[in-house]
Protein backbone atom coordinates (compact mmCIF):
# COMPACT_ATOMS: atom_id res chain seq x y z
CA UNK A 1 0.00 0.00 0.00
CA UNK A 2 2.92 2.25 0.54
CA UNK A 3 4.56 2.19 -2.82
CA UNK A 4 1.94 4.32 -4.51
CA UNK A 5 2.55 7.51 -2.65
CA UNK A 6 6.14 8.32 -3.59
CA UNK A 7 5.07 8.39 -7.23
CA UNK A 8 2.53 11.06 -6.55
CA UNK A 9 5.09 13.09 -4.72
CA UNK A 10 7.39 13.00 -7.65
CA UNK A 11 4.75 14.23 -10.00
CA UNK A 12 3.61 17.07 -7.88
CA UNK A 13 7.06 18.35 -7.18
CA UNK A 14 7.94 18.23 -10.85
CA UNK A 15 4.87 19.90 -12.25
CA UNK A 16 4.71 22.76 -9.84
CA UNK A 17 8.26 23.46 -8.89
CA UNK A 18 8.14 24.76 -5.37
CA UNK A 19 5.50 27.42 -5.22
CA UNK A 20 7.01 29.01 -2.15
CA UNK A 21 10.64 28.33 -2.71
CA UNK A 22 12.21 31.29 -1.00
CA UNK A 23 15.91 30.94 -0.39
CA UNK A 24 18.41 28.88 -2.26
CA UNK A 25 18.54 26.61 0.73
CA UNK A 26 14.88 25.82 0.37
CA UNK A 27 15.30 25.01 -3.25
CA UNK A 28 18.14 22.74 -2.59
CA UNK A 29 16.23 21.05 0.13
CA UNK A 30 13.28 20.52 -2.17
CA UNK A 31 15.61 19.04 -4.71
CA UNK A 32 16.99 16.81 -2.04
CA UNK A 33 13.55 15.70 -1.07
CA UNK A 34 12.82 14.74 -4.63
CA UNK A 35 15.96 12.73 -4.85
CA UNK A 36 15.16 11.10 -1.55
CA UNK A 37 11.89 9.94 -3.03
CA UNK A 38 13.62 8.50 -6.06
CA UNK A 39 16.16 6.89 -3.88
CA UNK A 40 13.41 5.32 -1.87
CA UNK A 41 11.81 3.81 -4.90
CA UNK A 42 15.06 2.38 -6.09
CA UNK A 43 15.67 0.96 -2.69
CA UNK A 44 12.30 -0.62 -2.46
CA UNK A 45 12.81 -2.31 -5.76
CA UNK A 46 16.12 -3.58 -4.52
CA UNK A 47 14.59 -4.88 -1.37
CA UNK A 48 11.89 -6.69 -3.23
CA UNK A 49 14.60 -8.40 -5.24
CA UNK A 50 16.39 -9.36 -2.13
CA UNK A 51 13.24 -10.77 -0.68
CA UNK A 52 12.67 -12.77 -3.81
CA UNK A 53 16.21 -14.11 -3.58
CA UNK A 54 15.01 -16.43 -0.90
CA UNK A 55 17.18 -15.24 1.94
CA UNK A 56 15.54 -15.58 5.29
CA UNK A 57 14.09 -12.14 5.70
CA UNK A 58 11.67 -10.42 7.95
CA UNK A 59 8.99 -8.25 6.46
CA UNK A 60 8.30 -5.07 8.34
CA UNK A 61 5.53 -2.61 7.60
CA UNK A 62 6.40 0.61 9.30
CA UNK A 63 4.21 3.65 9.83
CA UNK A 64 5.70 6.78 8.30
CA UNK A 65 4.71 10.35 8.85
CA UNK A 66 6.51 13.65 8.86
CA UNK A 67 4.65 16.93 9.06
CA UNK A 68 7.27 18.66 6.93
CA UNK A 69 8.27 16.26 4.26
CA UNK A 70 6.27 15.86 1.12
CA UNK A 71 5.10 12.34 0.60
CA UNK A 72 5.14 11.77 4.32
CA UNK A 73 2.52 14.30 5.30
CA UNK A 74 -0.11 11.74 4.54
CA UNK A 75 0.71 8.83 6.77
CA UNK A 76 1.69 5.71 4.94
CA UNK A 77 3.28 2.35 5.58
CA UNK A 78 6.70 1.51 4.20
CA UNK A 79 7.83 -2.04 3.75
CA UNK A 80 11.30 -3.19 4.72
CA UNK A 81 12.86 -6.60 4.26
CA UNK A 82 15.49 -7.30 6.84
CA UNK A 83 17.77 -10.34 6.89
CA UNK A 84 16.90 -12.39 9.90
CA UNK A 85 19.44 -13.33 12.54
CA UNK A 86 18.84 -15.38 15.63
CA UNK A 87 17.72 -13.41 18.61
CA UNK A 88 16.68 -10.44 16.49
CA UNK A 89 14.31 -8.01 18.13
CA UNK A 90 11.92 -5.56 16.54
CA UNK A 91 14.31 -2.78 17.51
CA UNK A 92 17.21 -4.56 15.78
CA UNK A 93 15.12 -4.84 12.64
CA UNK A 94 14.23 -1.17 12.76
CA UNK A 95 17.85 -0.17 13.27
CA UNK A 96 18.90 -2.34 10.40
CA UNK A 97 16.29 -0.76 8.16
CA UNK A 98 17.40 2.70 9.17
CA UNK A 99 21.11 2.08 8.75
CA UNK A 100 20.83 0.20 5.49
CA UNK A 101 17.73 1.41 3.69
CA UNK A 102 16.37 4.68 4.92
CA UNK A 103 18.29 6.88 7.30
CA UNK A 104 15.25 9.06 7.86
CA UNK A 105 13.37 6.28 9.62
CA UNK A 106 12.79 7.76 13.04
CA UNK A 107 12.18 6.12 16.41
CA UNK A 108 13.38 6.64 19.95
CA UNK A 109 15.69 4.07 21.46
CA UNK A 110 18.68 4.04 23.68
CA UNK A 111 19.45 1.26 26.15
CA UNK A 112 18.39 -1.77 24.05
CA UNK A 113 17.68 -3.60 27.27
CA UNK A 114 14.27 -2.52 28.49
CA UNK A 115 15.40 -0.02 31.09
CA UNK A 116 15.16 3.36 29.40
CA UNK A 117 11.56 3.05 28.26
CA UNK A 118 12.12 4.94 25.01
CA UNK A 119 10.84 2.50 22.49
CA UNK A 120 7.31 1.52 23.37
CA UNK A 121 5.43 1.17 20.12
CA UNK A 122 2.44 -0.53 18.60
CA UNK A 123 3.62 -3.83 17.17
CA UNK A 124 1.07 -6.05 15.45
CA UNK A 125 -1.67 -4.32 17.33
CA UNK A 126 -0.20 -4.42 20.81
CA UNK A 127 1.86 -2.00 22.87
CA UNK A 128 5.36 -3.46 23.08
CA UNK A 129 8.88 -2.40 23.89
CA UNK A 130 10.61 -2.91 20.56
CA UNK A 131 13.90 -3.90 22.16
CA UNK A 132 12.24 -6.58 24.23
CA UNK A 133 10.16 -8.13 21.47
CA UNK A 134 11.64 -11.08 19.62
CA UNK A 135 10.85 -11.27 15.92
CA UNK A 136 10.25 -15.01 16.12
CA UNK A 137 7.34 -14.40 18.44
CA UNK A 138 5.47 -12.36 15.86
CA UNK A 139 3.38 -13.05 12.80
CA UNK A 140 4.66 -11.55 9.60
CA UNK A 141 4.47 -9.04 8.08
CA UNK A 142 5.16 -7.17 11.29
CA UNK A 143 3.24 -3.95 11.53
CA UNK A 144 5.01 -1.27 13.51
CA UNK A 145 3.13 1.87 14.45
CA UNK A 146 3.56 4.65 16.96
CA UNK A 147 1.72 4.39 20.27
CA UNK A 148 -2.00 4.97 19.79
CA UNK A 149 -3.71 7.87 21.56
CA UNK A 150 -0.67 10.06 21.53
CA UNK A 151 0.15 12.75 19.06
CA UNK A 152 2.56 11.52 16.42
CA UNK A 153 5.61 13.72 16.07
CA UNK A 154 7.20 11.77 13.28
CA UNK A 155 7.26 8.14 12.15
CA UNK A 156 7.29 6.11 15.35
CA UNK A 157 7.95 9.02 17.67
CA UNK A 158 5.04 10.34 19.72
CA UNK A 159 4.75 13.39 21.90
CA UNK A 160 5.28 12.25 25.49
CA UNK A 161 4.55 15.59 27.14
CA UNK A 162 1.07 14.68 28.29
CA UNK A 163 2.30 11.44 29.81
CA UNK A 164 5.07 13.25 31.68
CA UNK A 165 2.59 15.80 32.97
CA UNK A 166 0.38 13.09 34.38
CA UNK A 167 3.37 11.36 35.96
CA UNK A 168 4.41 14.57 37.61
CA UNK A 169 0.91 15.49 38.76
CA UNK A 170 0.91 12.96 41.59
CA UNK A 171 3.73 14.58 43.58
CA UNK A 172 6.04 11.79 42.54
CA UNK A 173 8.67 12.26 45.17
CA UNK A 174 9.32 10.93 48.61
CA UNK A 175 7.96 13.04 51.44
CA UNK A 176 8.12 12.54 55.12
CA UNK A 177 7.90 14.67 58.22
CA UNK A 178 10.40 12.79 60.29
CA UNK A 179 13.91 11.59 59.61
CA UNK A 180 15.99 9.46 61.93
CA UNK A 181 18.48 11.28 64.06
CA UNK A 182 22.05 11.33 62.97
CA UNK A 183 23.42 12.22 59.57
CA UNK A 184 24.34 8.64 58.70
CA UNK A 185 21.26 6.93 60.03
CA UNK A 186 18.94 5.43 57.45
CA UNK A 187 15.20 5.13 57.81
CA UNK A 188 14.14 1.61 58.62
CA UNK A 189 11.87 -0.28 56.32
CA UNK A 190 10.67 -3.81 56.73
CA UNK A 191 11.40 -6.35 54.06
CA UNK A 192 7.68 -6.95 53.65
CA UNK A 193 7.10 -3.30 52.95
CA UNK A 194 9.88 -3.09 50.44
CA UNK A 195 8.45 -6.19 48.83
CA UNK A 196 5.04 -4.55 48.68
CA UNK A 197 6.25 -1.52 46.75
CA UNK A 198 8.91 -3.37 44.75
CA UNK A 199 6.96 -3.99 41.58
CA UNK A 200 5.59 -0.47 41.54
CA UNK A 201 9.10 0.99 41.61
CA UNK A 202 10.05 -0.77 38.40
CA UNK A 203 8.18 1.55 36.07
CA UNK A 204 10.35 2.86 33.24
CA UNK A 205 7.91 5.53 32.02
CA UNK A 206 7.40 3.89 28.66
CA UNK A 207 3.71 4.91 28.44
CA UNK A 208 2.65 1.58 26.95
CA UNK A 209 0.01 1.25 29.66
CA UNK A 210 -1.39 4.72 29.12
CA UNK A 211 -1.64 4.07 25.41
CA UNK A 212 -3.48 0.81 25.92
CA UNK A 213 -6.06 2.21 28.30
CA UNK A 214 -9.27 3.06 26.59
CA UNK A 215 -10.34 5.33 29.43
CA UNK A 216 -7.13 7.34 29.26
CA UNK A 217 -7.78 7.68 25.55
CA UNK A 218 -11.18 9.18 26.13
CA UNK A 219 -10.47 11.26 29.18
CA UNK A 220 -7.45 13.45 28.82
CA UNK A 221 -7.42 14.34 32.47
CA UNK A 222 -7.38 10.77 33.70
CA UNK A 223 -4.11 10.29 35.56
CA UNK A 224 -3.64 6.96 33.90
CA UNK A 225 -2.26 3.68 35.19
CA UNK A 226 1.42 4.68 35.32
CA UNK A 227 0.86 7.83 37.34
CA UNK A 228 -1.50 6.06 39.71
CA UNK A 229 1.10 3.35 40.10
CA UNK A 230 3.63 6.02 40.91
CA UNK A 231 1.31 7.34 43.61
CA UNK A 232 0.89 3.82 44.89
CA UNK A 233 4.63 3.45 45.14
CA UNK A 234 4.73 6.26 47.68
CA UNK A 235 1.37 5.79 49.38
CA UNK A 236 2.32 2.24 50.30
CA UNK A 237 5.83 3.07 51.45
CA UNK A 238 5.71 2.92 55.22
CA UNK A 239 8.60 5.34 55.53
CA UNK A 240 6.40 8.24 54.49
CA UNK A 241 4.10 8.08 57.49
CA UNK A 242 0.33 8.50 57.98
CA UNK A 243 -0.03 12.23 57.35
CA UNK A 244 1.53 12.03 53.97
CA UNK A 245 -0.51 8.99 53.12
CA UNK A 246 -3.67 11.02 53.72
CA UNK A 247 -2.41 13.58 51.28
CA UNK A 248 -1.54 10.91 48.74
CA UNK A 249 -5.00 9.41 48.95
CA UNK A 250 -6.49 12.82 48.32
CA UNK A 251 -4.45 13.14 45.18
CA UNK A 252 -5.40 9.83 43.69
CA UNK A 253 -8.99 10.34 44.73
CA UNK A 254 -9.48 13.33 42.51
CA UNK A 255 -12.25 13.12 40.03
CA UNK A 256 -9.87 11.98 37.33
CA UNK A 257 -7.92 9.71 39.60
CA UNK A 258 -8.56 6.11 40.48
CA UNK A 259 -12.32 6.23 39.94
CA UNK A 260 -11.86 6.53 36.23
CA UNK A 261 -10.31 3.10 36.01
CA UNK A 262 -12.74 0.53 34.66
CA UNK A 263 -10.51 -2.46 35.28
CA UNK A 264 -9.88 -3.08 31.62
CA UNK A 265 -6.63 -4.81 32.51
CA UNK A 266 -5.03 -3.70 29.24
CA UNK A 267 -2.41 -1.75 31.15
CA UNK A 268 -1.41 -4.78 33.20
CA UNK A 269 -1.41 -6.84 30.05
CA UNK A 270 1.04 -4.63 28.16
CA UNK A 271 3.38 -3.43 30.92
CA UNK A 272 6.85 -4.61 29.92
CA UNK A 273 7.92 -4.59 33.54
CA UNK A 274 5.03 -6.83 34.59
CA UNK A 275 3.72 -4.34 37.10
CA UNK A 276 0.30 -5.44 38.36
CA UNK A 277 -1.19 -2.05 37.59
CA UNK A 278 -4.85 -2.95 37.89
CA UNK A 279 -4.21 -4.54 41.23
CA UNK A 280 -2.48 -1.43 42.48
CA UNK A 281 -5.26 0.81 41.26
CA UNK A 282 -7.88 -1.37 42.87
CA UNK A 283 -6.01 -1.42 46.13
CA UNK A 284 -5.90 2.35 46.13
CA UNK A 285 -9.63 2.52 45.47
CA UNK A 286 -10.24 0.36 48.50
CA UNK A 287 -7.83 2.41 50.58
CA UNK A 288 -9.62 5.55 49.54
CA UNK A 289 -13.05 4.16 50.34
CA UNK A 290 -11.87 2.94 53.71
CA UNK A 291 -10.35 6.30 54.35
CA UNK A 292 -13.55 8.11 53.48
CA UNK A 293 -15.71 5.78 55.53
CA UNK A 294 -13.80 7.03 58.54
CA UNK A 295 -15.29 10.45 57.96
CA UNK A 296 -18.84 9.36 57.32
Amino acid sequence: MSTQIPNQTDESSETEPDAEAGSKGDERRAEKRRRAAEERERRQAEEAERAAADEETVELKVFRYDPEVEGKQDPRFDTFHVPFTKGMTVLDALMYSRDNYDSSLTFRHSCRQAVCGSDAMFVNGGQKLACKTQIVDLDQPIRVEPLPHAEVTKDLVVDMEHFYEQMEAVEPYFQTTEYPEGELEEQRQTRENREKVKMSTRCIWCAACMSSCNIAAGDNEYLGPAAINKAYRFAMDEREGEDIKQKRLEIIEQEHGVWRCQTQFSCTEVCPKDIPLTEHIQELKREAVKNNLKFW
Binding site: P75, N214, A217, N220, T263, F265, S266, E269, P276, R286
Partner: protein, 141 residues
Amino acid sequence: MSQSYNRGLIEDFSRWREFEAGMWAWIFHKFTGWVLIGYLFTHIAVLSTGIPAAGASEAALMAGEDVYTQTIVSLEGLLLVRILEVGLLAVAVFHMLNGTRLLLVDLGVGLEAQDKSFYASLILTGAITVASVPTFIAGAF
Protein backbone atom coordinates in the same frame (compact mmCIF):
# COMPACT_ATOMS: atom_id res chain seq x y z
CA MET B 1 -4.61 13.25 23.74
CA SER B 2 -8.08 13.97 22.57
CA GLN B 3 -6.56 16.11 19.84
CA SER B 4 -4.55 13.10 18.83
CA TYR B 5 -3.66 12.82 15.20
CA ASN B 6 -6.17 10.67 13.38
CA ARG B 7 -4.41 7.56 12.28
CA GLY B 8 -7.34 5.94 10.57
CA LEU B 9 -6.80 2.25 10.71
CA ILE B 10 -5.04 2.38 13.99
CA GLU B 11 -7.80 3.66 16.17
CA ASP B 12 -9.06 1.47 18.93
CA PHE B 13 -12.01 -0.45 17.94
CA SER B 14 -10.85 -1.53 14.55
CA ARG B 15 -8.24 -3.39 16.55
CA TRP B 16 -10.76 -5.62 18.23
CA ARG B 17 -8.97 -8.69 17.01
CA GLU B 18 -6.09 -7.86 19.29
CA PHE B 19 -8.16 -7.25 22.39
CA GLU B 20 -7.36 -9.23 25.46
CA ALA B 21 -9.85 -10.75 27.88
CA GLY B 22 -10.10 -7.73 30.16
CA MET B 23 -11.01 -5.46 27.31
CA TRP B 24 -13.69 -7.79 25.99
CA ALA B 25 -15.12 -8.12 29.44
CA TRP B 26 -15.28 -4.35 29.68
CA ILE B 27 -17.03 -3.99 26.35
CA PHE B 28 -19.54 -6.75 27.04
CA HIS B 29 -20.24 -5.46 30.48
CA LYS B 30 -20.89 -2.03 29.15
CA PHE B 31 -23.10 -3.32 26.38
CA THR B 32 -25.12 -5.55 28.67
CA GLY B 33 -25.45 -2.76 31.23
CA TRP B 34 -26.92 -0.45 28.62
CA VAL B 35 -29.29 -3.10 27.38
CA LEU B 36 -30.46 -3.74 30.91
CA ILE B 37 -31.16 -0.13 31.74
CA GLY B 38 -32.86 0.24 28.38
CA TYR B 39 -34.95 -2.78 29.18
CA LEU B 40 -35.81 -1.47 32.62
CA PHE B 41 -37.45 1.57 31.01
CA THR B 42 -39.41 -0.55 28.53
CA HIS B 43 -40.31 -3.00 31.20
CA ILE B 44 -41.83 -0.34 33.42
CA ALA B 45 -43.62 1.12 30.42
CA VAL B 46 -45.21 -2.20 29.61
CA LEU B 47 -46.06 -2.91 33.21
CA SER B 48 -47.70 0.48 33.43
CA THR B 49 -50.65 -0.98 31.60
CA GLY B 50 -51.41 -2.30 35.05
CA ILE B 51 -52.58 1.17 36.05
CA PRO B 52 -55.62 1.38 33.75
CA ALA B 53 -56.17 -2.32 34.34
CA ALA B 54 -56.63 -1.69 38.01
CA GLY B 55 -59.83 0.15 37.11
CA ALA B 56 -61.26 -2.81 35.18
CA SER B 57 -64.17 -4.84 36.53
CA GLU B 58 -63.68 -7.87 38.70
CA ALA B 59 -65.08 -10.09 35.98
CA ALA B 60 -62.82 -8.71 33.31
CA LEU B 61 -59.88 -9.28 35.56
CA MET B 62 -60.94 -12.83 36.31
CA ALA B 63 -61.32 -13.53 32.62
CA GLY B 64 -57.99 -11.93 31.93
CA GLU B 65 -59.56 -9.39 29.62
CA ASP B 66 -57.97 -6.33 31.18
CA VAL B 67 -55.44 -4.27 29.27
CA TYR B 68 -52.51 -5.52 31.29
CA THR B 69 -53.12 -9.22 30.97
CA GLN B 70 -54.06 -8.78 27.33
CA THR B 71 -50.89 -6.90 26.56
CA ILE B 72 -48.63 -9.36 28.30
CA VAL B 73 -50.31 -12.40 26.85
CA SER B 74 -50.26 -11.05 23.33
CA LEU B 75 -46.64 -10.01 23.66
CA GLU B 76 -45.70 -13.37 25.09
CA GLY B 77 -47.49 -14.98 22.22
CA LEU B 78 -45.07 -13.53 19.75
CA LEU B 79 -42.13 -15.72 18.94
CA LEU B 80 -39.95 -12.68 18.46
CA VAL B 81 -40.64 -11.52 21.97
CA ARG B 82 -39.75 -14.96 23.27
CA ILE B 83 -36.48 -14.90 21.43
CA LEU B 84 -35.75 -11.41 22.68
CA GLU B 85 -36.45 -12.64 26.16
CA VAL B 86 -33.86 -15.36 25.79
CA GLY B 87 -31.47 -12.66 24.62
CA LEU B 88 -32.35 -10.59 27.64
CA LEU B 89 -31.67 -13.53 29.86
CA ALA B 90 -28.27 -14.02 28.28
CA VAL B 91 -27.50 -10.36 28.69
CA ALA B 92 -28.62 -10.31 32.29
CA VAL B 93 -26.81 -13.49 33.18
CA PHE B 94 -23.61 -12.27 31.66
CA HIS B 95 -23.91 -8.92 33.40
CA MET B 96 -24.51 -10.68 36.67
CA LEU B 97 -21.67 -13.14 36.33
CA ASN B 98 -19.19 -10.64 35.05
CA GLY B 99 -20.49 -8.17 37.61
CA THR B 100 -19.62 -10.71 40.25
CA ARG B 101 -16.21 -11.03 38.66
CA LEU B 102 -15.79 -7.26 38.81
CA LEU B 103 -16.91 -7.12 42.41
CA LEU B 104 -14.25 -9.68 43.22
CA VAL B 105 -11.69 -7.69 41.29
CA ASP B 106 -12.66 -4.65 43.31
CA LEU B 107 -12.06 -6.64 46.44
CA GLY B 108 -8.66 -7.61 45.11
CA VAL B 109 -9.61 -11.26 44.72
CA GLY B 110 -8.35 -13.32 41.81
CA LEU B 111 -6.75 -10.57 39.73
CA GLU B 112 -4.26 -12.98 38.28
CA ALA B 113 -7.09 -15.12 37.01
CA GLN B 114 -9.12 -12.24 35.63
CA ASP B 115 -8.96 -13.62 32.10
CA LYS B 116 -9.99 -17.08 33.20
CA SER B 117 -12.88 -15.78 35.23
CA PHE B 118 -14.05 -13.82 32.20
CA TYR B 119 -14.01 -16.94 30.04
CA ALA B 120 -15.81 -18.78 32.80
CA SER B 121 -18.54 -16.09 32.85
CA LEU B 122 -18.92 -16.45 29.11
CA ILE B 123 -19.21 -20.20 29.21
CA LEU B 124 -21.58 -20.17 32.15
CA THR B 125 -23.74 -17.56 30.45
CA GLY B 126 -23.93 -19.76 27.40
CA ALA B 127 -24.79 -22.82 29.44
CA ILE B 128 -27.48 -21.15 31.51
CA THR B 129 -29.01 -19.54 28.46
CA VAL B 130 -29.19 -22.78 26.53
CA ALA B 131 -30.56 -24.61 29.52
CA SER B 132 -33.30 -22.02 29.90
CA VAL B 133 -34.44 -22.03 26.32
CA PRO B 134 -37.11 -24.74 26.83
CA THR B 135 -38.61 -22.85 29.73
CA PHE B 136 -38.64 -19.59 27.82
CA ILE B 137 -39.98 -20.94 24.60
CA ALA B 138 -42.59 -23.21 26.23
CA GLY B 139 -46.04 -22.55 24.92
CA ALA B 140 -44.92 -20.18 22.25
CA PHE B 141 -45.94 -22.47 19.46
